[in-house]
């Protein structure tokens, strides 16, 4: 049994969705993780897209969160005003996925710039809905490719705050981080390695972390390998390997 890094990340994220009722879905790994969870640990999971599509059950793999295939047969399609007002601020989003160009130990995220804001080295996309999602979702799941450039001691720009003082939002803030090396949870607001992926050493994880003294859970465990069932579902979801490679 073999699997790609991406497949492992999708499976690790999906397993965290057990019992979750509603999830704000992003494109790529989050979409695959939610679709996998819906077919395994969270059959009642309702997929909600930033585009206003509620209760979609995608028949094809979307390249964008506004794919017309998401709309057809969905439960409800709303304006962005209603989506952000009633669903997000109204507290109806249990879990939301966010990506990150940089993330720090408190789960704060930068998706705005590398370098100074006024004269950036790299201009990134910006917040989109991420800032309000970070503050209002029940729990935030962060999917990121880990390296000293992405796991940084100090963000160039705080786009979406994590566990800072005073508590900035009404949501629960970052709860899970999944990378190609392991899975993290937050203990007292500090990102803490809880699972290490098969074949990865703790040294490798530390070398890919831009801050000193990475917190490691007392109960650190190895990520259970993807099950054949899980991999089968994933390959059916992305038969051309657009995201799974």
């Amino acid at each position: 049994m073999t699997w790609s890094q991406t497949e492992l990340m999708v499976v690790a994220a999906a397993r965290q969705l057990g019992g979750v009722r509603s999830c704000f879905v992003g494109i790529g790994i989050p979409n695959l993780a939610c679709s996998l969870a819906k077919r395994t640990v969270a059959p009642d999971l309702e997929l909600i897209y930033e585009s206003g599509v509620v209760g979609a059950d995608p028949v094809r793999l979307p390249l964008s969160i506004g794919d017309p295939g998401l709309v057809v047969g969905s439960r409800s399609v709303t304006s962005m005003f209603d989506l952000f007002s009633f669903y997000l601020q109204g507290g109806l989003i249990d879990v939301a996925f966010l990506g990150a160009a940089q993330v720090d130990r408190r789960g704060s995220i930068n998706t705005t710039v590398v370098g100074p804001y006024a004269s950036p080295k790299v201009r990134l996309p910006g917040s989109g809905g991420a800032c309000e999602i970070a503050l209002n979702a029940g729990r935030v799941f962060i999917i990121v490719k880990q390296s000293p450039r992405t796991f940084v001691d100090r963000l160039d720009f705080v786009t979406s705050p994590g566990h800072i003082d005073p508590k900035p939002g009404r949501g629960g803030g970052p709860a899970v981080v999944v990378t190609q090396l392991g899975t993290y949870e937050f203990v007292g607001g500090e990102m803490t390695l809880s699972h290490i992926h098969p074949g990865v050493s703790l040294d490798e994880v530390r070398l890919a972390t831009g801050w000193a003294d990475l917190a490691v859970s007392e109960n650190l465990a190895e990520t259970p390998a993807p099950e054949p069932d899980e991999l089968g579902v994933l390959q059916a979801l992305d038969p051309d390997g657009v995201y799974l490679r």
């Binding site: 390249l63 962005m80 004269s119 950036p120 201009r123 309000e132 705080v158 705050p161 939002g169």
Partner: protein, 306 residues
């Protein structure tokens, strides 16, 4: 019936979009009026400020062609693919010239349009606490609640000079109906001083009035009605044509190189006379591949009351 609003896209843009104006072209992945963007380029409009939550390929083309000098936005990228390289060159390298930016989150932009549409001096939202966005954008202001709860942030109204709003069907009077992803087409139309409705189909008033709940934009606020079938390509119009994902994927390589993007604009925009010419160049086979099947809404009964 007042049909004097019906015009061509070239005429609407010539008459209603002055150089230097603030222009909103919304549509969240859906109903993005690329035809209007191309026409702005053909007419060599300049110094426009583009308001758009997601300045995607449309903004990349307008930035590369020198049409826009400013952006009011919340997310800039090629969705699911990567960067807008022409926009990035202008922001990162000031190449060939700088681009002013004014940056919000998605809901911040929607809230600005909502305040603008509602005659409100500000709109409150639960965002921005702990973010650096208010630090770089003084329009985003913290506000206490008089009822003693935790503070919120507010944003000011946004009232663009012109909104160009793509819809699926409209009457000649401008009553416009949308289905599928509505984005903030309604809010931006009500917020803007001038409204150009671009539609896939002009339909009889009877059709509009058979389902008045579907009318998001009333003719009252519409200044021009333009019929441009296929006007959203490579974006899509639900039920009319699919999103051309290949185009979005291919754009990345075009956009990475300023010469290449300029040749693309020459070939596809400046050297086509209008959107019909652009679609003709795209070719019937490619267009046919984007045709959706049929998935009709079940009717509802409004009744007949004498």
């Amino acid at each position: 019936m007042d049909s004097t609003k019906l015009t061509s896209l070239a005429e609407a843009i010539d008459l209603l979009v002055p150089d230097g104006s603030t222009v909103a072209i919304e549509g969240f992945t859906h109903l993005i009026c690329f035809a209007a963007g191309h026409e702005l380029i053909r007419q060599e409009k300049s110094d426009l400020t583009l308001c758009r939550l997601t300045p995607d390929l449309l903004a990349d083309q307008l930035a590369a062609a020198g049409v826009i000098s400013g952006l009011v936005f919340s997310w800039l990228g090629n969705p699911g693919v990567g960067s807008l390289h022409a926009v990035r060159r202008r922001i990162e390298g000031v190449d060939p010239r700088p681009l002013r930016i004014e940056e919000y989150s998605h809901f911040g932009m929607v809230a600005r349009y909502s305040a603008g549409a509602s005659g409100l001096p500000f709109f409150p939202l639960r965002s921005y606490a702990g973010s650096d966005l208010p630090r770089v954008n003084p329009n985003i202001v913290e506000m206490q609640s008089p009822y003693g709860a935790d503070p919120v942030y507010v944003v000011p109204p946004l009232n663009p000079d012109v909104a160009i709003v793509h819809v699926q069907r409209a009457s000649v009077e401008g009553d416009a109906q949308i289905w599928g992803i509505p984005g903030c087409q309604k809010e931006v139309a009500f917020a803007s001083k001038t409204v150009i409705v671009v539609c896939e189909e002009i339909v009889d008033d009877d059709i509009i009035r058979s389902d008045p709940n579907r009318t998001l934009i009333p003719g009252r606020i519409v200044d021009a009605v333009v019929h441009v079938p296929g006007g959203c390509h490579p974006s899509f119009a639900q039920g009319y044509y699919d999103r051309d994902n290949e185009f979005y994927l291919a754009w990345d390589a075009i956009s990475r190189d300023q010469d290449r993007i300029e040749s693309w604009i020459d070939e596809w925009v400046r050297n086509t006379s209008d959107h019909a010419g652009y679609l003709e160049k795209l070719g019937a086979a490619r267009w046919a591949a984007l045709a959706p099947g049929e998935g009709l809404s079940r009717p509802v009964n409004y009744g007949e009351y004498q």
